[in-house]
């Protein structure tokens, strides 16, 4: 009986720990399968704290990558980009050079009505490595809302 109660208590906790971006290829990066989690700067925010941005989930990781890791991150993000709504400027923006993405903001298709999902990527080339930032977010915010909230005037 005690075991059943314990399972019932822990079940919601395990659900909370499930990452929102599950099912995406970039989940490998968030899960630390490309770069060790200890070497990444991670933030995960859910709920009321994001209300002012009309978001429900905001998950980011920042890390330094070598050539190989950058190429892998690039490839994983590109594969997830296949799930984008359209190439229209209202749904995505992207800059790439020589087959590598420098930055991208992409709205993904979503089956849940009223919820928008976005993935963002930024790669900054430094002298000895690349600084990569990866973002997953979901909520009611449109891309126009996000631009308004986060684009420097």
């Amino acid at each position: 009986m005690k075991r059943i109660i314990l399972i019932l208590l822990l079940a919601p906790c395990s659900l909370l720990l499930c990452q929102a971006q599950q099912g995406l290829h970039i989940n490998d990066i968030f899960e630390g399968r490309l770069i060790d989690k200890e070497k990444m700067e991670e933030s995960l925010v859910r709920g009321d704290n994001l209300a002012q941005y009309k978001l429900q989930v905001l998950h980011t990781v920042k890390f330094a990558a070598n050539d190989k890791e950058r190429a892998k991150a690039d490839a994983l993000f590109s594969r997830d980009m296949e799930g984008r709504i359209s190439d229209d400027e209202s749904n995505m923006e992207m800059e790439s050079h020589n087959g590598h993405i420098y930055y991208a903001i992409v709205q993904l298709t979503d089956s849940q009505k009223g919820r928008h999902r976005y993935i963002c990527y930024q790669c900054k080339e430094k002298s000895s490595h690349y600084d990569i930032t990866l973002v997953y977010m979901e909520g009611k915010a449109t891309l126009a809302d996000l631009r308004k909230s986060f684009k420097k005037k």
Binding site: S43, V45, N49, Y102, K126, S127, T133, V135, K152
Partner: protein, 127 residues
């Protein structure tokens, strides 16, 4: 003489004998001068014996106030749990705020993307 004793009493200098005589005079003289009546009342008040609670009454009082040993056993873990929960909530709130700051900074950087000098060099040197 009595006024001298009274003055010495008020100065805190009277002896036990002077005090006894003063008390006796103030408490037993029927026609006291008007200015001495307040002192007589004061002495009468000091002479009144304060009621002392009985041993049983004291025991009953402490039994009503002190929590039972069973209640104490329950209260200690509850207090500890409340403290741990409060500390956990505080730490969690701090982490959430730090995460929110990191997340919004990352988004601001992406939405206001600027090329690094190395990237600009590469872009401009493109054949």
């Amino acid at each position: 003489m009595i006024r001298t004793y009274l003055n010495r009493y008020l100065e805190g200098e009277s002896t036990q004998e002077e005090l006894r005589q003063l008390r006796e005079y103030l408490c037993s003289t029927p026609d006291l001068p008007a200015d001495l009546i307040p002192y007589a009342k004061m002495f009468a008040l000091l002479e009144e014996k304060q009621p002392t609670p009985s041993r049983q009454a004291l025991d009953r009082f402490s039994a009503e106030r002190a929590p039972s040993s069973r209640l104490r056993v329950i209260l200690w873990p509850l207090s500890a749990a409340a403290c741990i929960t409060a500390a956990w909530l505080l730490l969690n709130w701090h982490k959430e705020q730090a995460d929110l700051r990191l997340g919004t900074e990352a988004l601001t950087e992406i939405f206001s993307h600027e090329y690094e000098p190395e990237q600009l060099t590469q872009l401009f040197n493109e054949p």
